[in-house]
Amino acid sequence: MTDKFVSIEGIAKRYPGASGATTTVFENLWLSMARGEFCCVIGHSGCGKTTVLNILAGLDAPSEGAVIVDGQAIAGTSLDRAVIFQSHALLPWRTVLGNVAYAVSSKWRSWDRAKVKAHAQTFIDLVGLTGSEHKRPSELSGGMKQRVGIARALSITPKMMLMDEPFSALDALTRGTLQDEVRRICLETGQTAFMITHDVDEAIYLADKIFLMTNGPGAVLAEVVENPLPRDRGRTDLHRHPLYYALRNHIIDFLVTRSKTFAAETPNHDPRNVPVVQIGKPGLTIASNGEEQRQTRMPGTNPGLTA
């Protein structure tokens, strides 16, 4: 909470509805992220997750409020914030290398062709696509396309990465491999990442913090769940960790019931001080019952478990 690398301050998004009424997707949304933190947003469709991401990316402007990244209010899109699109959004008339090189040459306009190519190649190698540089997107599988999307986003060495359900269109095996790669790359490069997902396990594996959003319209950020699992967690033994099921059950409970009833049950919810949920205390190892181990604290008090 000390280092607010990203700070979303009281943003709202309203659309003009039928007969002069306005539809409020969300309002008074406050959210912050520390440098190098991996955050996931979970919520049902229509809660405005994608809108939040688009506002962070600068593709969309909030109706109210501001977003501050690295000490500066954002205005429009920026090469500092790379987006990985759900539909990969590769330019189909360019090759793999061409797609990555397009991003590289957009960031470093004075670079000559050889330098751009060499830089793009390092990122193609990083995502494991060596040998496919000259293929066109139509010749690639879904997973490979998304790897190109990741390479393109990383190649401009952004300050943060924004991912809108990047793996939702992939099969389970490919998704797993790509999650591993994204986690490895983010840990290695200390990348700050903001990701939208519907997949609870994906959020548990990748995220340091999980933002839970209630159903829209009028969606609010209900809770920030800190991930209690160790930073060096692996995919294979993730579910053996004593706090795994407590964490998972907490999120599923929220999605199944509390996301609908939250607004009614919590009338004095303060969007500026969203409760931080810590599953299990640092000293406790066995979580037989998630309910007992759950401890909610308000921000600014006992920092508790930190990553």
């Binding site: 593709l59 090469l79 987006v83 539909s87 189909p92 008339w93 066109r136 139509s138 401009i156």
Partner: protein, 279 residues
């Protein structure tokens, strides 16, 4: 399978052609002398009267005449007697000039309209009114203002080929996938660079389709335009040979108009394939 299908289709095509030529030949051949008549009168009337020959030339007459034309495509015996090659060259040059001018206007203008919803809405009524006007209706106005029949023909080609290109460019530019535009936006690509690196390649197949429709219309219109303006060109040739009552030459001209039109279309089809990208 595929090659055998092509072979069979080819065989059917050849058979249909042979059948067509055969029926044509039978329908127009000379029959027995019709009736006894004064030899002087018979000479005057020709084979049509004496042998029962159809006034329509047969395929052999047309073939022989075509061979004559092909041997000397570029002769020039004065204003009313030029080789078919020269006439076609005049027509192609007119179509080419009018068409290129239309490309130069329609594609940049289409880009502007497609990228600006304001312009798109503002210009729409004009386009809707101008588009359905027969290009030949412009001819008197063109002749009156330009005062040069040859340039007027080029203007008519210009005005008829501009609409399909303009509308297709507008449509292609306006319907570029939002996500590709967003990629360019997140990479802070400027408007000009975005137009050339994202919108142009994405809209190119649609634009080329419009260009292909336009060249077809331009070639249709040039024949009619040249009949009106006269002097040179394949359209003038058709009308001139009609006045000469040389149906053989009219048929040859019809055949050549078809072949040139097909070639123009094929050229544009090849360009379209070059810019089409698989998704």
């Amino acid at each position: 399978m595929n090659s055998s299908l092509r072979l069979r289709a080819g065989l059917v095509s050849v058979a249909l052609l042979a059948a067509f030529l055969g029926i044509w030949h039978l329908a127009t051949r000379s029959t027995a002398p019709v009736a006894a008549m004064n030899p002087e009168y018979a000479k005057l009337m020709g084979l049509t009267a004496t042998q029962g020959k159809s006034a329509m030339p047969g395929p052999l007459d047309v073939g022989a005449k075509l061979w004559e034309h092909l041997k000397r495509p570029f002769y020039d015996n004065g204003p009313n007697d030029k080789g078919l090659g020269i006439q076609l060259a005049y027509s192609i040059a007119r179509v080419g000039t009018g068409y290129l001018l239309a490309v130069l206007v329609a594609i940049p203008l289409g880009f502007l309209i497609g990228m600006s919803p304001l312009l798109s809405k503002a210009l729409d009524p004009f386009i809707q009114v101008l588009k359905p006007i027969s290009p030949l209706a412009w001819m008197p106005l063109a002749l009156y203002t330009i005062k040069d029949s040859s340039v007027s023909a080029i203007f008519v080609i210009f005005i008829c080929s501009i609409w399909p290109m303009l509308l297709n460019t507008v449509f292609g530019v306006a319907s570029v996938r939002k996500e590709w535009i967003n990629v360019a936006r997140t990479l802070e690509v400027g408007t000009i660079r975005r137009a050339f690196t994202v919108i142009l390649p994405a809209a190119a197949p649609t634009i080329l389709t419009g260009m292909r429709i336009s060249i077809g219309i331009a070639w249709l219109v040039i024949v009619a335009a040249e009949m009106l303006v006269g002097g040179t060109g394949i359209g003038y040739f058709v009308w001139n040979e009609w006045n000469n009552l040389s149906i053989t030459n009219v048929i040859i001209a019809i055949l050549l108009i078809g072949i040139v039109g097909m070639l123009l279309d094929q050229i544009l089809a090849r360009f379209t394939r070059m810019v089409t990208f698989p998704e």
